[in-house]
């Protein structure tokens, strides 16, 4: 009897202590959750920026790209001399204190020309990429989402566009229309051609991704919740393909700068007296003397193209990783 009583008391004590520890635990959990709540309530943009900041190479890319942008767009406003100021006494001078990047065959300040050329190249790259990405996302997501006949139609159309040979078309167009338009119109023409011909790859990739996304149950769930088609595409599909879009856009941007350079190099894009990086390289490599003995003529625009393309790719890489919530490291 006595023993039993003792046991009972012991048991009660145990229960009591269990309860106590439970209460303590609950308290701790409450504190913890409060703390967590505090550091969780940050806007998604901030999360992306925080992730992006951790990628040193992406930050470096951003820095370089920002620098190039600032230089290309701001400096031309403040330069005292026109890019076409000819000085017959200063032909082919190597870089020095008055002409930082040297001078060209007409004695024009090369720094001025490179910087202004950068503006043109970046413009062309950015606008062509925007057009191509917009068309690619639009066509790809509509084809993938609705499938069936619409898909078939759009994809066959994409194949037709894809089968246009780009160089002959661009060359023909700028040869046929080139004389009628001034430099800025021609630039616009090139951007539009690049954009209109460049969307097919992205459209295909996005369509493919969406076909597989459509099979995911969260798309059925979205339908069951009564989400409008447009919002299904905008809120569920685009965010899930955004990494592809970013990669494609950054690669496309870099590629378009190169294509513009190539076109100018061939003489079908921007022409003298206007300037762009590709054109400068073309002029520089016109003679072997220039290549061999006047390296500043091609080194500066060449290195700038390289830096721009690389930095944009680094930024794209970093952004892609930063946007993916699975990369949060939590």
């Amino acid at each position: 009897m006595e023993e039993n009583k003792n046991k009972k008391v012991e048991l009660e004590e145990k229960e009591l202590s269990v309860e106590e520890s439970k209460a303590a635990q609950a308290l701790r959990e409450e504190q913890l959750s409060k703390q967590e709540r505090d550091d969780v309530v940050i806007s998604p943009t901030k999360v992306i920026w925080n992730n992006f900041k951790e990628k040193k190479i992406a930050l470096l890319g951003l820095g370089i790209f920002a620098f190039i942008l600032v230089v290309s767009f701001i400096i031309p406003i403040f330069t005292p001399s026109d890019i076409n100021d000819i000085d017959a006494t200063k032909i082919y001078q190597a870089p020095n204190f008055t002409n930082w990047f040297g001078t060209d065959k007409l004695g024009r300040d090369y720094f001025n020309r490179v910087v202004t050329g950068g503006k043109v190249s970046l413009y062309v790259g950015a606008i062509a990429t925007t057009i191509a990405t917009f068309l690619g996302v639009l066509v790809g997501s509509i084809a993938g989402f609705y499938g069936g006949k619409i898909d078939n139609l759009l994809m066959r159309f994409a194949e037709i566009v894809r089968s246009f040979p780009f160089l002959p078309l661009a060359i023909t167009l700028s040869a046929a229309l080139g004389s009628r338009y001034d430099a800025s119109q021609k630039m616009l023409l090139i951007m539009v051609i690049l954009g209109i011909l460049g969307w097919t790859g992205l459209a295909r990739m996005i369509r493919g991704m969406i076909l597989s996304l459509r099979e995911q149950e969260f798309m059925v769930a979205a339908k069951a919740l009564g989400i409008k088609d447009r919002n299904q595409i905008l809120r569920h599909i685009i965010p899930n393909v955004v990494s592809i879009i970013i990669v494609s856009a950054t690669l496309g941007f870099a590629g378009n700068i190169l294509v513009e350079s190539g076109l100018s190099f061939l003489g079908f894009g921007i022409t003298d007296p206007d300037t762009s990086w590709g054109l400068l390289i073309k002029d520089a490599t016109a003679s072997s003397t220039n290549v061999q003995w006047r390296p500043w003529l091609w080194i500066f625009p060449g290195v700038l193209i390289l830096l721009t393309v690389l930095s944009v790719n680094f930024i794209g890489d970093g952004l892609r990783d930063a946007i993916d919530p699975r990369n949060n490291g939590r």
């Binding site: 149950e217 969260f218 009564g226």
Partner: protein, 335 residues
């Protein structure tokens, strides 16, 4: 809540859902069909839980999704709260979606990985203009989350940061946030381990009592279905073969397939060893289903009649429907 027999939430009549199979010849149009649902009729009353069991591939999930018009029915009729939605356009069904919801089997693929929990639960609320974005919406989302056993702080987290059970709760919260009348639970607990299963089942039952819900509970797990259902339907190869109150079906199965299915439930009682009824063969193709009674190829009671005549769907006891020519003999099976 008691079952209200005067209110039919879902009524389906002779519902058929066929999926086209590409024929092998190049010019041939799609002439072959997978008959996923081949004439199913069912009424679900307000406040009731109807369980749907059957082996995999028998068309349970297809039925659940066709009822909600997530798949277009091939033939037949679907009435939701008395409205014929069989041929309604998605655009017109959209406003009704708030009343009918679905909970999915896979808690991984059913949540958008790029959305936070708050966005997932709140999306439909803003879409249907029930709430505007803001504090009020957030408060409501948190209250729904709490109801489903999720903590406040989870609202800004992403699905991949949760366990399977928690993710399933998110899926439940998403459906529940719209305050629906009718929810299809499509294998809602099958992907969870047993302890979490019972938690989620209890949650579903509590929610049903609190919110006057009606469930169509699809599962292949007989013990789960028994636990939660008022009535149970058994499906075989696209057909409903038996439908009865859940007690009746366990005590007195009328269809030989039901009986065989029930004999497969593992028991922990060593004293009372049940005789296991082994069905010969596998499930026949539902592109070319067997003639007559589809079950005749595997049925121990089958006769010549079963091969030729499709059995009628008839009420053999109160609320107990079966489609079998020889349901009286089912008792003798396994003895």
């Amino acid at each position: 809540m008691a079952i209200d027999k005067s209110k039919v939430v879902i009524e389906i009549n002779d519902l058929k859902k066929y999926f086209p199979v590409k024929s092998s010849s190049f010019f041939g149009k799609n002439k072959m069909w997978v008959k996923a649902n081949d004439g199913v009729s069912l009424k679900i009353y307000k406040g009731e839980t109807v369980g749907l069991v059957g082996e995999s591939g028998c068309g349970k999930s297809t039925l659940g999704r066709t009822i909600l018009k997530l798949l277009e029915p091939t033939d037949g009729q679907i009435l939701f709260n008395g409205n014929d939605i069989t041929h309604m356009k998605q655009r017109h069904i959209r406003p009704m979606r708030t009343d009918m919801q679905i909970i999915f089997q896979d808690p991984y693929s059913s949540l958008d990985p790029k959305m936070t929990v708050g966005q997932i639960i709140g999306e439909a609320l803003t879409e249907h203009n029930i709430y505007k974005k803001g504090q009020e919406l957030e408060d409501y989302i948190i209250s729904v989350m709490n109801k489903c056993g999720l903590d406040d702080y989870m609202i800004h987290r992403y699905p991949h940061q949760f366990s399977g059970g928690q993710r399933q709760r998110i899926g439940i919260a998403r459906s529940l946030a719209l305050n629906p009348d009718f929810i299809v639970c499509d294998e809602a607990v099958s992907a969870l381990d047993v302890s979490i299963q019972s938690q989620v089942l209890n949650l579903l039952m509590d929610l049903k009592d609190d919110n006057d819900l009606t469930y169509l509970f699809i599962s292949h797990d007989l013990s789960v279905v028994k636990h939660i259902s008022d009535r149970i339907g058994v499906m075989y190869l696209g057909d409903l073969v038996e439908l009865a109150p859940s007690n009746d079906i366990y005590v007195d199965p009328k269809h030989p397939y039901t009986k065989a299915l029930l004999s497969a439930i593992p028991t922990s009682d060593v004293e009372k060893q049940k005789k296991r009824i082994i069905l010969p063969g596998g499930i026949p193709s539902n592109v070319f289903p067997p003639s007559g009674c589809k079950f005749h190829t595997r049925c121990p009671l089958a006769t010549e009649k079963c091969k030729q005549e499709v059995p009628e769907w008839r009420e053999v006891a109160e609320d107990h429907f079966v489609s079998c020519h020889f349901y009286e003999k089912t008792k003798t099976m396994g003895n």
